[in-house]
């Protein structure tokens, strides 16, 4: 049961990481990279300064998840790493 709950941890990270890379790069970025002001602030800048804290909040949730679900921190690491170099080797 436990392992089943822990396994998506790394997958979740990969998804968020890729999402992050996509969201701050072309072409996604192009959506917000417009020469207009929203609330008096250029949209591009507003996008970054809102998106950035949001992504940090996601990491914060991730770290809370780690506290809740891995008391002995070796455990998730083991599981995760089993996964990872299975693929890498």
């Amino acid at each position: 049961m436990k392992t089943e709950r822990k396994l998506p941890l790394k997958d979740a990270w990969v998804i968020w990481f890729i999402l992050g890379v996509v969201m701050i790069n072309y072409p996604f970025l192009h959506i917000f990279n417009k020469d207009i002001l929203v609330f008096g602030i250029p949209l591009t800048i507003l996008y970054f300064y809102i998106g950035w804290p949001v992504s940090i909040f996601v990491i914060y949730l991730f770290s809370i998840y780690l506290v809740r679900h891995s008391p002995e921190h070796d455990a998730p690491g083991n599981d995760q790493d089993n996964n990872s170099h299975g693929g890498a080797a």
Partner: protein, 1071 residues
């Protein structure tokens, strides 16, 4: 303008505070209270990433190039997602392998290759030089601005008016930072390369810089303007042509450029030598990574919040002049009447620079020392004299040299380039380490050759595509190479290599460096195979979270630890009583489940609590090592090591080296080898570590009352190593043993004992020490160490370690003795097992076929061998004899007598006709033997004649036989008078006779049946047996026996019996 004196005084004061904090942190560490052992300090120390480049350069970049500077901070935020996997893996490996730098990390991964370590070091130094130059430039420029804001040209020399002292601010800063680096990075050689003082100072600097920058930001945004919106509004109206600064994808800020910057910064935060040092080497515990993952990015958001407003505000106020944009953050407060704010900003920028320079210089000097200088020194070093002093001074020199190189770079090239450009050059250099490190962490096929070639080519390309253009830019070399290409070949233009044009210089350089670096790394790794050394390391890196040999134990390791395991661990170090007190205070009224288990969160807390408790007696760092190793070793044989570890006193100030010696020693003892190998191995560990000329273990020979040599290592001498010592206080060894206390002579010129002095001087010994080897306080021997090379080496700390080691020898000795006892006991056990087999083979294996009766019998010995015996003897004329006997005792002696009884009875089978005669003969035969052995035998002999159904029987003091008479439906006791065998030589045994009928049942038994006891000390008794016989007389004999045995077991409540139990059942039936 602020006077030079004020700026200097403030700086000195600030430096004083930094020194104070660093010193305090170092002291606290020595006392076992780590100041930096918390996630906030760790996160703040990571902010050493934000250097003066962030502090000043971001504003400059924003004012000239726009918002692409954000990529430098967004990249690290993204990669922070990976820290729990990537960074934690690096930390775990580094702690386990005792890694000291990124060069060490890469070199270790690829088979501890010295060449690779040297390559990484050289590249790291060259790569970071511009970055250090940048910091010096920032401090010296801001100093100039502060004291003469109107000067547009760079002032090289300042004058301290009162002393008429001329000085170059950059050089002075370089010197001060160098000294700081030396004091907190190279006060002593520490194998772990952890510097808590330095980390504490860095954390404080991070606080100062964020406060200073935010203060300046608030001043500009809300003091000089009316908030964010006004700044943007004014800017767009005043400079509509510069609106591209607020967007990406236009001008120089192409999307490709943005992507490159993000990637470069992701790699830089991981692989810049100083980041590696702070994140990996200085990491106190892996757990801190979890909170640093969001705290550090949050720090970057806050410090970048006002970059754009300050940049745009500066442009607005400077009428669009971006010449000095790098320093808007300090010039704006100065120009608008806030000199104190400017001074605070100066300190903030100074903090940013100082932190970077100090950590970089310490990290680089470690690399230079370990990977460039030590290999050379060891080549020429003869090995006789002490090295540590030399190494320490070399390290200090390296710190100064690294900073001075940065200074030279600044003087030669720094003036021409903007801060951001210099910094990015170093970022791209750090990116070159990425393939070797990340590949090394996850890719087994990666080889040393691949990594080396990749790195060399990558750096060559970096030099060519980035450094050469920057040399050109500074006018250091002629622009021909950039404009026309090397040797006039357009294909070799450094900024448009092989015709790759249309990209900014960073994207271009990143592409080519990564292309050759990663390309050759992958290709050569695939073409070559890892060497033996490399293969060993691959497992330690790639599989660090699940080491292969421990696979079988993984399930046990991942099992949650129980409270008792923590208590056990604490008890090993602080004693059982204290451990229980501590745990009960800690637990209070927490909830515990029925198995003593804890919720997952509580286990973490309990682990910390255990560490804290242990830290009180062994110091913080050892405590952490102990707890971590203990938890990961649970359920394996390594637990023995901790028993040993806990059995000696460890000083609270024990260094990592000392602990490692003790740990090695404990491991040796737990190895399970024979005593001699263990003693030899212990001395080997000891002499190897401390370079003694001679170490000896002497153990007391109790018969001769001398201390005899059991193991010796080092020079051979008849006076020391090979000779015995009497138990007198005339020698130090004898005295050590007799007084059970350590003797230390740090200077052999001053010796109180003439006998010893003579030998010592003849052998040219300069210092020596003896420690008693004791078991539970009782001395059993002496451990001695002699040195010919130095006086005064037995310091207080060392003697503590020495005593601990002697304690371990004692433990090894005790273990060996216990093992010997165990082996002896096992041998006996084996012999008993043989005896048991023999004895069992003496009992009847089957029941004879006698017409008219059914038989059954059993004998259950209470121990391996017993004294009960039963037998059936079937005579040729059809008679059947039943014998049941009980020899007192359950030992081998009883078993032998039983065997003898059997032999005698069987040999007399044809000659003696009735039970009476047989018993009399037995009594006479055994009388002498039994009297001498103080043993006796009881026996019941019964003869049955199938034809007449007559039984004749006699008893030698044996329990009466029970007879179920089916006609009368009652039980009677057959108890003819007779003394037990071996009491009186000639005794007239009675013999009785009886006639049986169909359905009668005889039950012969030994007293083990009726004397079986329950927990209330009640005996099973004859009555219960009679009842059983009455109830179950119709059962087949063997079933009846089984039923009786079961009932006796049920009664006594045990599976095993205290006394041997034997039964014979004979049932008379229709022939």
């Amino acid at each position: 303008m602020i006077s030079v004196t004020t700026v200097i005084l403030t700086s000195v004061l600030y430096f004083g505070i930094l020194f104070g904090v660093a010193y305090y942190a170092d002291r606290q560490r020595e006392r076992g209270h780590s100041l930096v052992d918390n996630p906030s300090v760790y996160s703040l120390s990571l902010a050493v990433y934000c250097t003066s480049w962030t502090f000043y350069g971001s504003v400059g970049r924003a004012a000239t190039n726009g918002i692409d500077f954000l990529a430098i901070y967004l990249g690290p935020t993204l990669i922070a997602f990976s820290w729990w996997f990537l960074l934690r893996k690096m930390v775990r490996i580094s702690k386990e392998q005792n890694i000291t730098s990124i060069a060490d990390f890469i070199s270790s991964r690829y088979g501890k290759s010295p060449l690779l370590g040297a390559v990484v070091t050289v590249f790291a130094v060259i790569g970071i030089m511009p970055y250090i130059a940048l910091q010096l430039k920032a401090v010296s420029r801001t100093f100039d601005l502060l004291v003469s804001p109107l000067a547009t040209v760079n002032i090289r020399m300042h004058v301290l008016p009162k002393f008429d002292l001329h000085f170059d601010s950059a050089l002075v800063v370089a010197l001060i930072l160098g000294i700081f680096g030396i004091i907190f990075g190279a006060r002593h050689l520490d194998a772990s390369e952890r510097h808590e003082g330095l980390v504490a100072a860095i954390a404080l600097e991070s606080v100062v810089k964020i406060i200073a920058f935010v203060a300046a930001g608030i001043f500009v945004t809300y003091g000089l303007f009316d908030g964010f919106t006004e700044i943007f509004h004014d800017f767009l109206i005043r400079f509509p042509e510069r609106r591209h600064l607020l967007m990406l994808g236009s001008g120089e800020n192409t999307y490709a450029h943005w992507l490159s910057m993000t990637f470069i910064s992701m790699m830089a935060i991981m692989f810049l030598p100083r980041q590696f040092h702070i994140m990996v080497i200085e990491n106190c515990r892996e757990d801190h990574i979890r909170s640093a993952m969001w705290r550090f990015p949050a720090y970057m958001v806050v410090i970048n919040l006002f970059v754009i407003p300050i940049a745009l505000g500066g442009l607005l106020l400077a009428n669009g002049d971006s010449y000095n944009a790098d320093f808007f953050v300090i010039t704006l407060p100065l120009q608008y009447g806030q000199p104190w704010l400017a001074l605070l900003v100066f300190l903030g920028g100074f903090s940013a620079s100082a932190g970077m320079v100090m950590v970089s210089s310490v990290a680089l000097s470690t690399m230079i020392l370990n990977h460039l200088l030590i290999p050379i020194i060891l080549k020429f070093h003869t090995g006789a004299n002490e090295l540590s002093g030399l190494l320490l001074n070399l390290k200090r020199l390296c710190i100064l040299a690294v900073i001075f190189l940065g200074y030279v770079y600044y003087r030669l090239l720094g003036e021409s380039a903007a801060l951001v450009n210099i910094g990015l050059i170093s970022f791209v250099a750090a990116t070159q380490f990425a393939p070797a490190v990340i590949g090394g962490l996850y890719w087994r096929q990666a080889t040393r050759r691949g990594a080396t070639v990749g790195l060399v080519l990558g750096f060559f390309m970096w030099f060519y595509t980035l450094l050469i253009p920057s040399f050109v830019q500074s006018g250091w070399i002629s622009p021909g190479i950039v404009q026309e290409g090397l040797w006039g070949l357009a294909l070799l233009k450094p900024t448009q290599l092989f015709g790759l044009s249309g990209f900014d210089v960073w994207t271009h350089a990143l592409f080519w460096t990564m292309f050759v670096n990663l390309g050759s790394y992958l290709a050569i790794s695939l073409l070559t195979s890892p060497s033996k050394e490399e293969r060993e390391q691959i497992g330690k890196f790639v599989d660090v979270f699940n080491p292969a040999p421990l696979k079988a134990e993984r399930t046990r390791i991942s099992k949650a630890p129980t409270i008792m395991e923590f208590v056990d661990l604490m008890a090993k170090f602080i004693g059982i009583k204290q451990a229980h007190t501590a745990i009960s205070e800690y637990m209070g009224n927490r909830e515990i489940d029925e198995k003593g288990g804890l919720s997952e969160n509580d286990i973490l807390k309990l682990k910390r609590f255990t560490e804290l408790t242990l830290a009180g007696s062994v110091g913080a760092a050892p405590a952490r090592i102990i707890v971590d190793k203990y938890l990961s070793a649970r359920g394996s044989h390594m637990e023995d090591v901790f028993d040993l570890f806990g059995s000696v006193n460890i000083s609270r100030t024990a260094s990592r080296e000392q602990l490692s010696v003790l740990y090695d020693a404990a491991r040796t003892i737990a190895s399970g080898n024979d005593l001699q190998s263990i003693l030899d191995a212990l001395l080997e560990v000891f002499t190897d570590q401390f370079k003694f000329d001679l170490c000896v273990i002497r153990i007391l020979d109790e018969d001769r009352q001398t201390l005899t040599v059991r193991s010796q290592r080092g020079m051979s001498s008849e006076h020391f190593g090979e000779s015995e010592r009497d138990l007198t206080s005339e020698t130090f060894i004898g005295e050590t043993f007799l007084t059970n206390s350590v003797s230390v002579v740090n200077d052999s010129d001053v010796i109180s004992k003439p006998t010893t002095a003579q030998i010592i001087h003849r052998e040219k010994i300069l210092s020596f020490a003896h420690a008693p080897i004791s078991i539970e306080g009782q001395p059993i021997g002496v451990l001695s160490a002699f040195s010919r090379t130095a006086k005064g080496i037995f310091t207080k700390e060392f003697v503590e370690l020495f005593t601990s080691l002697a304690g371990m020898v004692g433990v090894a000795w005790r273990n060996a003795q216990q093992t010997e006892h165990l082996i002896r006991a096992r041998e006996q056990q084996r012999e008993l097992a043989i005896a048991k087999d023999i004895q069992l083979s003496l009992l009847p294996t089957s029941t004879p076929e006698v017409p008219g009766v059914a038989l059954g019998g059993i004998c259950i010995p209470a121990q391996e061998v017993g004294g009960d015996y039963y037998d059936y003897l079937h005579h040729e004329d059809g008679r059947l004899d039943l014998v049941i006997a009980d020899v007192s005792g359950h030992n081998v002696g009883a078993a032998l007598l039983m065997a003898e009884t059997r032999t005698l009875i069987r040999s007399r089978k044809g000659h003696l006709n009735n039970p009476q005669e047989i018993i009399r003969e037995l009594n006479q035969f055994f009388y002498e033997d039994l009297t001498r052995a103080e043993l006796f035998i009881t026996l019941f002999y019964l003869q049955f004649c199938p034809e007449t159904r007559q039984i004749t029987f006699a008893s030698a003091g044996h329990s009466p036989t029970l007879l179920w008479q089916s006609k009368l439906k009652k039980c009677i006791r057959l108890d003819p008078e007779g003394l037990i065998i071996g009491v009186k030589e000639d005794f007239p045994y009675e013999q009785e006779s009886l006639k049986l009928v169909d359905g009668d049942v005889l039950l012969l038994y030994t007293d083990g049946v009726i004397e079986a006891e329950n927990d209330m000390n009640e005996l099973f008794g004859e009555d219960r047996l009679v009842l059983l016989l009455e109830e179950h007389n119709k059962l087949p004999p063997q079933d009846m026996i089984d039923h009786i045995i079961e009932q006796v077991r049920l009664f006594s409540g045990h599976r095993s019996f205290k006394d041997d139990v034997s039964l014979i059942v004979m049932q008379v039936k229709q022939p």
